[in-house]
Amino acid sequence: MHSTERRSFLKNSFVLASGALLGVPAHGQEKRSSGKAEPGQPKPADKKQIIRTLGRTGLRMPVVSMGVMNSGNPALVRAALEAGMTHFDTAHGYQKGRNEEMLGNVFKDYPRDAFTIATKVQSESGDSPAAVLDWLSKVDVSLKRLQMDSVDILYLHSVGSRERALAPAMLEALQKAKESGRTRFVGLSTHSNEPEVLDAAVESGVYDVVLTAVNFKQDHYPSVKAAIARAAKAGVGIVAMKTMAGGYYDRAKTLPINCKAALKFIVQDPHVTTAIPGFTTFDQLAENNSVNYDITLTEEERDSLAAGSLEGGLYCQQCSHCVSGCKNNVPIPSYMRAYMYTYGYRNLGLAHAVLSEIGTKQDPCLDCASCTAECVKGFPVRDRIADVRRVSEIPEEMLA
């Protein structure tokens, strides 16, 4: 999708999200009483937890769950359970298995129906009979670490293509895992080519659930959203990950994303059953759990996402404030525009044209020990100039 189309789509999405879609219970969604409040946890007495059904699995869970990948803290998992979260996501490879071991030690103290658990196992042996056995043996290791006979969802980890999603050996392995009782339901996880993989999951007729990367910053968000809708309509349960898009707009991590807003934006899609943010503090747990009781984007949250998403933190407003602070009078706004064309629009031709207008291939910052130019948006001016200046080295004919 062209970037202007994407901007238009995002704008419309935010308008829709703030209006018609909000407050209308999605199919398979209900609100349940919040129960006893825990100290420090947001279980508002006057609000009900938003629960959705995970496609044809029939599993029911709050719209926000816990991705456990970043936390080895059992107290945080217990606190999430006590706060009303019921679904937990881990993987065979996280912390070399210690993540699953930690969860096993926590969950052994809870009734099995008090939570649902998903783990992910990657196949590294290609598409062969040996791959089936290898993958199932890894599943058995995961179950042993988790101290369980069965998980609720077992994902084939990191599927990036239709071909991989439909690999006969892996489909066989997944079906064997289900038939043998190692898992109640099977799925796949995907970080790339999500629409293609989502469609393949439907086509297979095997996958009950897809765990997909989806966030407001994705260039191809509209096509991911459309594929999610197709899969959901076919009965495939949708779990969202990477909803916070890395937490920052910029590579230097100077412009933080409003993570709560980003989370709300994704779970407002009624086809998404739950999201699995990977929080590491009790404060983050409280903030994420508050979304389980209210997915409404405030005006401020809506504005923060709209502003940030438009150019992904790459947009230079060309105010020229920086120029007065630069002792070499470098045309910084032009460099920032070239940077945006390079990384935002992926259009090297445009970037090259802007750099040609500047007219020099030499490093304009060469004789400065430190940068005195100040950007009102906090862009790391010198780093971006050094980075994008490389584009001017590309022969123009190669950009035709």
């Binding site: 100290p39 107290a75 210690r98 970080h191 590579r251 983050q284 080295e393 590309i394």
Partner: protein, 287 residues
């Protein structure tokens, strides 16, 4: 213009964008893979960065990033008949960060190996940490030749990296007496689930007792005081006996914590019923 030329140009342009800035500016990558007699070295040309690590290890990348992961270089060592060993060298911003990530993945069941600051091995794998590098060596084959190959290659990489064979200095603030070997952990941020507790050195004391001591050396006494005050604020209760240098607080998620502030160091004991001996030991190592 031929179609082939256009495609080639496009590929080159995309490849150009993907080149790390360091390579473009002529900086040479440090060599972390030595030659090992009897083994053929094959370097993987892909270098993973914070932006691309997830392509290699999926969601596990997030934890590496929280320990200031810088880059990952990979190589393969092969020998006949048909044995291949993979060496992954993860570079972090500091020795503390590398040790922190290493200690997140270390299993207490594995056997210690004298490699780097600390290392351990199991069938088909050997991991160790040396300065800012976390090194993982593995093989799908688990025979004697493969196992001895793991050790040879690990030793060679350790020699090349040439880092002191000692834990990060922060662990010197923890008592030695009754410290459980290889239980040390460095937690870079969100220690105990609190954002105000960062840079924690921790170890178990008394095998199986559940007792742990942690120390957080801060930049200055004011920063330590700030963390101390924040901890007191989340406690449901706090009490201190007369002339006691420790305060006992009750944390809603972790139970009793005996907390002490000494200069720029915040320290504590958790998971213990009787903390008398550990208090005495800790007082000897704190500033």
């Amino acid at each position: 213009m031929s179609r082939g030329y256009v495609i080639r140009s496009a590929v080159m342009a995309v490849a150009f964008l993907l080149l790390p800035l360091a390579v473009m500016s002529g900086e040479s990558e440090p060599d972390v893979f030595p030659g090992v007699p009897g083994w053929t070295l094959l370097r993987d040309s892909t270098v993973y960065t914070p932006a691309t690590l997830w392509e290699y290890i999926n969601g596990a990348a997030d934890l590496f990033l929280s320990y200031e992961f810088q880059d990952l270089h990979i190589a393969y060592y092969r020998t006949s008949p048909e044995i291949e060993i993979r060496a992954e060298v993860y570079k972090h911003a500091s020795g503390e960060d590398a040790y922190g990530m290493y200690s997140q993945e270390r299993s207490p069941q594995n056997a210690a190996v004298p490699c780097g600051a600390e290392g351990y091995s199991d069938l088909g794998m050997l991991n160790f940490v040396a300065g800012p590098w976390y090194v993982k060596i593995s093989s799908n084959q688990t025979g004697d030749q493969s196992q001895s190959g793991l050790v040879s290659i690990a030793s060679a990489i350790d020699s090349l990296l040439n880092q002191p064979h000692r834990l990060p200095a922060g662990f010197d603030l923890l008592p030695q007496e009754n410290r459980v070997p290889r239980s040390e952990q460095y937690v870079s941020r969100d220690f105990l689930g609190y954002s105000f507790l960062s840079g924690a050195y921790m170890a178990d004391f008394g095998a199986g007792s559940g007792c742990r001591i942690f120390v957080l050396p801060k930049q200055n006494p004011a920063a330590a005081q700030s963390a101390y005050d924040a901890f007191l604020r989340v406690a449901s209760s706090a009490e201190r006996n007369k002339e006691d240098v420790f305060v006992r607080l009750h944390d809603p998620h972790h139970g009793n914590v005996d907390l002490i502030l000494r200069g720029n160091v915040l320290a504590g004991i958790i998971g213990c019923v009787d903390t008398h001996a550990l208090r005495s030991a800790l007082l000897k190592t704190l500033p």
